[in-house]
């Protein structure tokens, strides 16, 4: 709670500083130095092709942004006086890309020593100045779901961030995003591709049956724990004069998180591959009365798409990765489109700081394989991911009232020559290719330095 408040304060105060930079960073220190973009109070993106992800594409459209929010979008809008204008001629604007599966910024990913580490928090180990943050902005990405790893059945708590590059890490946390947790099934949990070192024991569970029983066991404990707290709360509120205070149950940070899952306050993002394990987890969740928010990877989701849809569970998959391990052998690139056809809300994720840089190219594969529409494919990297993370009231589409998180492309984002020109978060320009450290710029600088010192060696690299 306190963290969220601090984050909110920072977000409010720092933009007001305009050109000011934080301590130790100097905007003139070179192409990779971090400069905090000034807050855009009133911005208009004009004459652009706007792919809204929610209500089709607007040709020659305008987006008006006031204090970080979209206040108008459409054709033939009047640009308000005093607006900073971004000329969108020839350009395509999409919602900022949302990556529902990332490990970026996390200093540690797996606390895999126990089969449940529901108590650990990715939020505690975020690094704010990783170059990969900037590189993902350069690919149009604005929001990440940073997940714990998949080494154990019940992993740690996630962190949803906006890539407000240059701001302190607390200011990157997505204010108000529902908390979540990573679950995992299959080979990674069984550790079959990572056998124990000499002298180490195998960790239970070692089979898919064991994984089911382990998860059921932890949620049974969570139910009992919740009942103990409820009994305690009831005893306290019914306390009569002269009676001794009841003794509270022992606080358990792991079970606290699992109780939040039971109560629908914490979203489960479950790493999974094979259809049998997906099916198992959906049944377990149903038995305990909670919903799996998203299945991650879910490469065989197409085999049980109806069951996933019926559970109201989202699916966040790779576009076409396959064959890298046995449980990825039945992966097909038609997975995303086929699940969507069956009524599942599908997103396409990266699970990689590299792939995150070109998620728009990955999304286009849902059109190629299975015939998704362009808007459906765009939703897979924007609105559907936002829905899976419970933040679709804030981001994921270009609609009035939403945060002005936008990617501006040089042309159609699914075309071969697609390149991100600008990335905005809350209406502030966090990436602009005009001022970015490109290879072209470096080569020009090398050329200039050679002219300045006639005897210098070529390239100096």
């Amino acid at each position: 709670m306190t963290r969220t408040l601090i984050a909110a304060l920072l977000v409010i105060t720092i933009p007001a500083a305009g050109q000011q930079t934080t301590d130790g960073w100097d905007s003139d220190a070179g192409p990779l130095a971090v400069a905090i973009p000034p807050a855009g109070r009133l911005v208009a993106i004009t004459n652009a092709t706007i792919m809204t992800a929610s209500h089709g594409t607007i040709n020659n459209g305008t987006i008006i942004i006031r204090d970080g929010k979209i206040t108008a979008v459409g054709p033939n809008l009047t640009v308000p006086q005093g607006a900073e204008i971004i000329d969108g001629t020839g350009r395509y604007v999409t919602p900022g890309i949302i990556d529902a599966h990332s490990h970026s910024m996390a200093e540690g990913i797996n606390e895999g020593t126990l089969s449940s580490t529901a108590m650990v928090r990715i939020e505690d180990v975020l690094i704010q100045d990783r170059t990969s943050i900037y590189r993902q902005l350069a690919g149009g990405v604005t929001t990440l779901n940073i997940l714990h790893g998949s080494a154990n059945a019940i992993g740690g708590q996630n962190a949803v961030v906006k890539l407000r590059w240059g701001l302190p890490v607390d200011s990157m946390l997505f204010e108000g995003a529902p908390p979540g947790i990573k679950f995992a099934l299959g080979e990674n949990v069984r550790r079959t591709n990572n056998p124990p070192r000499a002298g180490q024991d195998r960790r239970y569970p070692f089979t898919r049956m064991g994984v089911e029983q382990f998860i059921r066991e932890r949620f049974t404990r969570a139910q009992e724990y919740r009942a103990a707290w409820q009994a305690y709360d009831a005893a306290r509120s019914n306390l009569r004069r002269g009676e001794a205070q009841p003794i509270p149950p022992r606080r358990d940070l792991e079970l606290d998180a699992l109780v939040e899952v039971l109560e629908g306050k914490r979203l489960v993002h479950a790493h999974s591959y094979r259809s049998d394990e997906i099916y198992m987890l959906l049944k377990v969740a149903k038995d305990f009365g909670f919903r799996i928010a998203s299945l991650q990877h879910v490469l065989e989701g197409y085999k049980v798409a109806d069951e996933i849809a019926a559970a109201g569970t989202g699916a966040s998959t790779f576009a076409d990765s396959w064959a890298y391990k046995l449980e990825a052998w039945d992966a097909i690139p038609f997975n995303a489109a086929l699940m969507a056809d069956r009524g599942v809300r599908v997103s396409i994720n990266s699970d990689s700081d590299e792939r995150a840089r070109r998620l728009y190219q990955e999304a286009a594969k849902a059109i190629k394989y299975g015939g998704a529409s362009e808007e459906e494919a765009l939703k897979m990297i924007t609105l559907n991911a936002a829905w899976q993370l419970g933040i679709d009231d804030r981001v994921g589409s270009i609609d009035v009232g939403k945060d002005a998180d936008l990617a501006i492309f040089n042309g159609h984002p699914f075309s071969p020559a697609a390149r991100v020109e600008m990335t905005l978060i809350d209406g502030r320009t966090f990436f602009d290719r005009q001022t970015a450290p490109t290879l072209d710029r470096l080569m020009r600088e090398i050329e200039q330095s050679k002219q300045a010192v006639p005897d210098s060696e070529e390239g100096s690299r």
Binding site: P31, L32, T131, S132, Y134, R135, A138, E187, N193, Y302, K303, A305, D306, E307, D320, S321, W322, A323, Y324, K325, L326, A328, W329, D330, I332, P333, F334, L338, D353, E354, R355, R357, R358, Q361, A364, K365, I367, K368, Y369, G370, G371, N410, F414, S415, P416, A417, A418, R419, A436, P437, T438, L439, D440, R441, L442, M443, E458, G459, R461
Partner: protein, 426 residues
Amino acid sequence: MKSILALVCCAALLPTVGATQDRIVMIRGAHIVPVVGNEIPNGDVIIRGNLIESVGSGLTTPPGATVFDGQGLRLYPGLINSGTTLGLEEIGSVPGGTDTRELGNYNPHNLSLTAVNPHSELIPVTRVNGITSAVTGAGGGLVSGVMTLIDLNGWTTDEMAAVAHLAMRINYPRLPGGRFGGGRRGGGPANPEAVNRQVRELKEYLGRAKTYDETRDRMEAAGETAPTMDLEMEAMRPVMDGRLPVLFEVTTAAQIRGALAIADSFGLKAILAGANEAWVLADSLASLDVPVILGPLTSTPSDDDPYDMIYANPGVLAKAGVRVAFRTNDAAESRNLPYNAALAVAYGMDPEEALRALTIDAATIWGAGDRLGSIEPGKVANLQLTTGDPLDVRTEVRQVFIRGVPIPMTDRHTDLYEEFRARPKP
């Protein structure tokens, strides 16, 4: 979505490599992009046996020809993936099916073609996306062995081979992890002295190979036979003669300079692969006529490099006049070859140059420019009939031809798709 044409054709014509001389195929009314020569808006191609017989418009349909209607479609040469491990590995995490790394540092006598599984499930998955040929090879140690160029159809390795002995792969020594985080496949030495030691060792090895080659040349000229045959050194002879090119696997500019120095001092014919920092030396590479195989572009530069360095590198090289080609450098991602080139186009490469790099330029680099890489009479009929630009992810490949054979447009993925698409609602 699925073209009726493709379905009908596949049912009628399963691949029949072998008995090919009497097979006649005609593709009629397609927009032909021959890569070499002008585009033909309403063009026909006649294939007899394995080869393209004629290219034009308004050609007469030969009797007995199987006709493919190309109306509204585009005909391109099949693409060449200039670096894969196709056929050498199946499922990444399953060691039993992975033949990509021999033990030991020196295996010049290893022939990659030997271990290519013609029936790998990954081969159909790759070719249905318009990739008709691939360089494949093992990559372990310092001298990994002889890479091979295969066409992606055939019952045996020899039937698939386009150029069986293509190039000798040498991994130029490097620090583990490289500058670009590519350490997963590497496993090089642990410190700079060890790198220098490996470079020295490599030079000594080449020196030994040179002496062996010269000695054997002299003996053969004198009609003498060797008392014992050294298979390893025998395998190095075509390299030392400059007949078999060396593919130097490099990343940094320093490695490129090192590789070029070795090639110069031993008179080797060099091809560079990887080469993320080749832009530094673009003019030198152009004047030395050293080709560069780029990719995968789906990797990230090191922290202090420009964010778009790997995407922009191919365009800089092409503009400087360096002959370039693309690769995916793995097996399962091989189908995504054209989208590597698309990233290069997005960051400055001319689209026509990119298409050439996937076709005729690749073929020329690999010494097969007279047979592959363009739609011209007399060339091998490796073709793809598509709905659009192969670099565009949204493009559908409707029909692939490999050595004139219309390939079934199905694979493991389409089979599973059809199976589960038909699953009744529970």
